[in-house]
Symmetry: C2
Subunit: 360 residues, 2 copies
């Protein structure tokens, strides 16, 4: 356990951060403790002045999971909090192979050209299977990663969704404090990460391919309902006809859902990230959305709702965790399930029984 | 508060139940207490022998919400529990005006003719607005209500969804113990009641009308996804063409969802409850489903999942309730929300703060 933790820290370690040094004497530790508050202040100032190295280092602290850094992170975040909340947060999802990284790079390049500061974060709570593909994006977005106005960062993976969600939210906050005014939050179109990303972004964009008649297959239930727009990528060459057909079908599918509470009807757009076609129209759609949502107050309302969601979600996750990790409950739970199965107990009686047990 | 409770009890009161008498002297009360355990035993025996009056009386106890009856209900339920679980539970939903009661009556009449014992329960957690329509069903199902093999009962309404769900589950259990082998659980197609009914039935049927091109409008998000079948009612006379068109559209809509885990592809059927047409085909489809689901083990699996769902749901509802009703939390919550809004606190810090507060 401890060795895997060390390994993790080592992975994220950067040479300039003394607090991450694991092989230090106690004299050094005391020296570090004194230095730390000064370093944290410097680090925070660096973030606020837009220094990418400082931003990366702070996100590394957020991801380190080490209890030693908890206070540091709190200090950084509470200092940055008043400078956050000012960007447009765009969630982008799609299954592997849909061309997410190419799309994000082209959109990012368009935006930096227009004078925006763009940060790309990748959320990947699923483990090793998909980790590769998202980490790989960073090297694949070769042009964008070199641009001074862009910042690309894959976030922590392989942990609980709640944990990853919190880290992503905190990373968003730091990026905003560092002056990034457009955030592209990427997630793979599998698992529960979409719900989390949907709950922390202002606009949720689903990337799709035109397929052979079964365009809507393979999408997790509910994702289409969450989408504010569907972009059919790779709409080029021989694919154009199929893409246009898919557009009609998606429009029909979206039409079958009741209108969203914000009055925005989800749009379907065609694009070819590879040929850099249609990206400008996607951006036009996004600016239309933001204009409307800010005008009718929905933008602010949604953010307030999201804050409340994360507040209650964190509380409720913690309450559940505490209950189910109670040793008494852990040992009684299988037996209670067995009793329900054998019709000796109703689920309601069983719940009452366990709730009483947890209090003893 | 107390007067409304009395009113409620009086509404459900039946003359033969002494424990429901509200204007009794303490001497009478003591006498009743002694008599009670004997009465409860008699009542339970009555249920198990299929006596409708006893069944009704026990369901009235379940609905009474009075703490005085908690122990009685527990006794009745634990005695009946081993005799439950043997029926087919069919959830039926649809917006008011779709012809739910006519459809249920025709289906019920078909089933009693085939030798089944049919119980109809109505779930209505929404308040007065819709209450009328469901209570009204009872008198509207004139033929079915008079049939010796049928039992019709509107359940408690106007309360919390969790409370209504528990009462309905317990009523289901008693109906099964009384020998009803097919249960039709009705709910209005609004509010959250569908999710609850979906989680306590084996098959979920959505009733719809053919409309003017917007057949899918007005349905709550997610209801189509929950449906195991859609029956387009009032497919008669001038409506037939529109109904057939709607069938095609619904089939297309259903096709756009990924397959259900049980391998059952949701079906679309046409019916005219008024003309008693198509009801037999709906029943044929239901028997097909049950045959398959029992063969591949999905039937049992789903019930086990539902039991686990109600167990954890009850536990988690209780944990949340306790937390949010804590006086300290109640007084601090608005201030914390305000601080989040003003960017003085992140939702995660705020959650930690409140969780600590609740423990003091």
């Amino acid at each position: 356990m401890s060795s895997s933790k060390n390994k993790k820290s080592a992975l994220h370690e950067t040479k300039s951060d003394p607090s991450l040094n694991l092989s230090q004497t106690s004299a050094e530790r005391i020296k570090n403790l004194r230095r730390q508050s000064k370093d944290i202040k410097k680090l925070t100032e660096g973030i606020l002045s837009g220094n990418k190295t400082d931003l990366s280092q702070a996100i590394t602290l957020i991801e380190s999971q080490s209890k030693r850094h908890t206070e540091d992170i709190k200090t950084i975040i509470s200092t940055c909090l008043p400078y956050s909340n000012k960007s447009l947060r765009i969630g982008i999802t799609g299954v592997p192979g849909v061309g997410k990284s190419t799309f994000i790079e082209q959109l990012g390049l368009l935006l930096v050209k227009k004078g925006h500061k763009v940060a790309v974060l990748a959320v990947d709570p699923s483990s090793s299977v998909t980790r590769g593909s998202i980490l790989g994006d960073k090297t694949r977005m070769e042009k964008l990663v070199q641009h001074p106005m862009a910042y690309i960062r894959p976030t922590a993976s392989g942990e609980s969704l709640g944990g990853v969600a919190r880290k992503t939210r905190e990373s968003i906050l730091l990026c905003e404090a560092a002056g990034y005014d457009i955030l592209l939050i990427e997630t793979v179109g599998v698992g529960q990460s979409e719900t989390a990303v949907h709950s922390m972004t202002d606009f949720f964009l689903l990337l799709k391919l035109a397929g052979a008649g079964d365009e809507l297959q393979g999408i997790k239930r509910g994702i289409i309902e969450m989408a504010d727009a569907i972009v059919i990528n790779k709409a080029d060459g021989d694919n154009i006809k199929a893409a246009k057909k898919a557009k009609v079908e998606f429009n029909r599918a979206l039409h079958m859902y009741p209108s969203k509470s914000n009055g925005w009807d989800p749009k379907v757009k065609l694009a070819s990230a590879l040929q850099n076609e249609g990206i400008d129209k996607v951006w036009k759609m996004l600016t239309d959305y933001f204009e409307k949502a800010k005008q009718n107050g929905y933008f602010e309302e949604k953010r307030a709702d999201q804050n409340k969601f994360w507040l209650t979600q964190t509380i409720e996750d913690s309450l559940k965790k505490e209950f189910y990790q109670n040793e008494v409950i852990k040992s009684e739970f299988p037996e209670v399930l067995e009793k329900i199965h054998n019709q000796d107990l109703s689920p309601f009686e069983a719940a009452e029984y366990l709730l009483k047990k947890a209090k003893i």
